[in-house]
């Protein structure tokens, strides 16, 4: 049985479609990532899977239960870390954990032991009695992760778990998540728009405008990009592009900062390019394909470009809270 099974899932807010027919299966124990720009439909999908939103059409099974018809069974088997914080900051770490444990019917006898163990995993045991409002952003996130695991869920949802945290804390959070995954073998469904973080996933679905445009392992996705990526700036980009196309028969695309081309064996290609290109090159860089490049390749734009979609997302979030 798959941990998550989604068939042709759709969600409209009023008339505006946010998720336009999404399908995927996640086997148990997998770390599955939803990657896409803000407004792509990530949070909407996650909210449907954790029963906070009802889909307009399509079906979704989580831990074997239908998210619409068997809402309570689904809720008992999932843990969630929301994008926005969901802690009571005026209570202590222990209080927050205890309330959650009672809510999910953790046996009273096991409660203190389990809370201590969960807090120890995220290295917050010494802050058990502190008020949450005295915690840093990273500590609050860790506490939420510990809380989400308290009732031993089968599937853990992480919606942008590291958004708004500094790079060092982000790395620490990922270490915890990977450690937890190894220890418990639970299924993790996460969304992110940080490319580097998506690398930890076993498989990634790239989502854009409410549709999955690619779904594979990070390595396979990167193979979609033909070889290395070379980005160059020249004194006349238009002319340089024409020259590259006629001399090297390579497709060239402008990428905002300069020209972008994909080529096998970039190291050998660069000296040739500099020697043979009549237009003057002002700067040149080479890098291995990343998921960012995959996204650019598939959609023709960078993932972190904030467009009118981010406005749509604000609207959706307001809806989601109704």
């Amino acid at each position: 049985m798959n941990a998550i099974e989604v068939h042709d899932l759709r969600k409209n807010f009023k008339e505006i479609p946010a998720v336009k027919g999404v399908s995927f299966q996640i086997p148990p124990g997998e770390i599955f990532g939803f990657l896409g720009p803000n407004g792509a439909g990530k949070t909407t999908t996650i909210n449907i899977l954790c029963t906070l939103l009802t889909p307009t059409a399509g079906t979704a099974l989580v831990a074997g239960h239908d998210v619409v018809r068997e809402r309570d069974q689904v809720r008992r088997k999932i843990g969630i870390v929301f994008q926005d914080r969901a802690l009571d900051e005026r209570l202590t770490a222990f209080d927050n954990m205890q309330l959650h444990a009672i809510l999910y019917n953790v046996p009273a006898r096991e409660l203190p032991k389990r809370i201590d163990a969960a807090l120890a995993t995220v290295e917050l045991l010494d802050r058990k009695k502190s008020l949450v409002r005295t915690f840093s952003g990273g500590m609050k996130r860790r506490l939420e992760i510990a809380r989400g695991l308290l009732h031993t869920p089968e599937v853990l949802f992480l919606d942008e778990p590291t958004v708004g945290l500094d790079p060092q804390t982000r790395r620490a959070i990922w270490d915890y998540i990977q450690k937890l995954h190894q220890k418990r073998g639970l299924t993790i469904f996460m969304t992110t728009h940080y490319m580097e973080e998506a690398e930890v996933c076993h498989r990634i679905a790239i989502i854009d405008h409410g549709k999955i445009i690619a779904l594979d392992t990070p390595a396979n996705l990167k193979r979609l990009v033909g070889g290395d990526v070379v980005i160059l700036k020249t004194s006349d980009d238009a002319q340089a592009a024409a020259e590259i196309q006629s001399r090297f028969h390579l497709p060239v695309s402008p990428n905002g900062q300069g020209l972008r081309l994909e080529v096998e064996g970039g190291e050998q290609f660069i000296p040739t390019l500099i020697r043979d290109l009549p237009t003057t090159i002002t700067s040149i860089s080479l890098h291995r394909p990343t998921l960012e490049d995959v996204f650019v390749k598939l959609t023709g734009r960078a993932i972190r470009e904030e467009g009118p979609e981010s406005m749509l997302r604000v609207g959706m979030r307001m809806w989601g809270r109704r």
């Binding site: 969901a86 802690l87 209080d95 009672i102 809510l103």
Partner: protein, 253 residues
């Protein structure tokens, strides 16, 4: 069973928060004391209670049960603000996604707010000797459940309103729109049988009138309605308000 658990958790959270704020709770006695002694002595000096059953003991004594009612009313309704707060800061989502029904959340919230307001009201009982009022242990045992009933009814009303509000500001504005008339018409600060004819129906539809009357009856023996009648009216209003609260919560998420 799972819903009882939900009710318990929501209630427990409010009680824990109340405990965290215990300093504020004690300092919270200052405002009612100000009303009671400054306003009470001021008003008492300006007009006479002669010829009324309250003549004995002065105006402060007469106002004292009204101040208990006021404290319960304000603490209860404003405890509901945490719903708006939670929405803004996300805790509501943690509860909404738990395997617990929406009605359980509303009922737990009503019980939590009612507990806070009853405890806050109980602290006002400490002012009794200063107001020249003698309260026996038996009085306290009757007072507490009546205060709890008023508190429960008023918290439910607060929740019914808060669940429809999206911001703190609008909650405060809407709440005051209901709260101030309820407080003024309840007779917390004056005799309701002496008001002009046009005010009489307003006084009698104000549920708090019966709360204040019951409290005044228990503390001073000066009630206009039998205690049982007041309690029944309050219980009826509490049921209605809780029904509204549950309904507005079921529209959530």
């Amino acid at each position: 069973m799972r819903n009882l658990r939900g009710i318990y958790v929501i209630w427990l959270r409010d009680v824990k928060r109340f405990w965290q704020d215990r300093v504020r709770v004690v300092v919270g006695i200052a405002q009612p004391a100000l009303y009671l002694f400054v306003l009470g002595n001021g008003l008492g000096g300006s007009f006479s209670l002669a010829g009324t059953p309250a003549a004995q003991g002065g105006f402060v004594r007469f106002m004292y049960p009204g101040i208990i009612g006021m404290t319960v009313l304000f603490t209860a309704t404003f405890s509901a603000i945490s719903i708006v707060w939670d929405r803004e800061f996300g805790f509501l989502k943690e509860v909404l996604v738990a395997p617990v029904s929406r009605s359980a959340i509303a009922i737990g919230k009503a019980l939590g707010g009612a507990t806070q307001a009853t405890l806050q009201g109980a602290i006002i009982l400490l002012l009794a000797p200063l107001a020249g009022v003698q309260i026996t242990l038996l009085d306290v045992l009757i007072l507490l459940p009546v205060m709890a009933l008023v508190a429960f009814a008023m918290t439910s009303l607060g929740i019914a309103i808060a669940a429809r509000m999206r911001s703190m500001e609008s909650f405060q504005v809407v709440m005051n729109f209901f709260l101030m008339p309820m407080f003024f018409l309840s007779g917390a600060m004056f005799f309701t049988d002496r008001v002009p004819a046009w005010m009489k129906p307003l006084v009698s539809i104000d549920p708090l009138t019966y709360g204040v009357d019951a409290l005044r009856g228990i503390v001073l023996g000066l009630n206009r309605f039998p205690l049982v009648q007041s309690v029944l009216i309050l219980a009826g209003f509490a049921t209605l308000a809780l029904g509204l609260a549950v309904r507005s919560f079921q529209r959530e998420g």
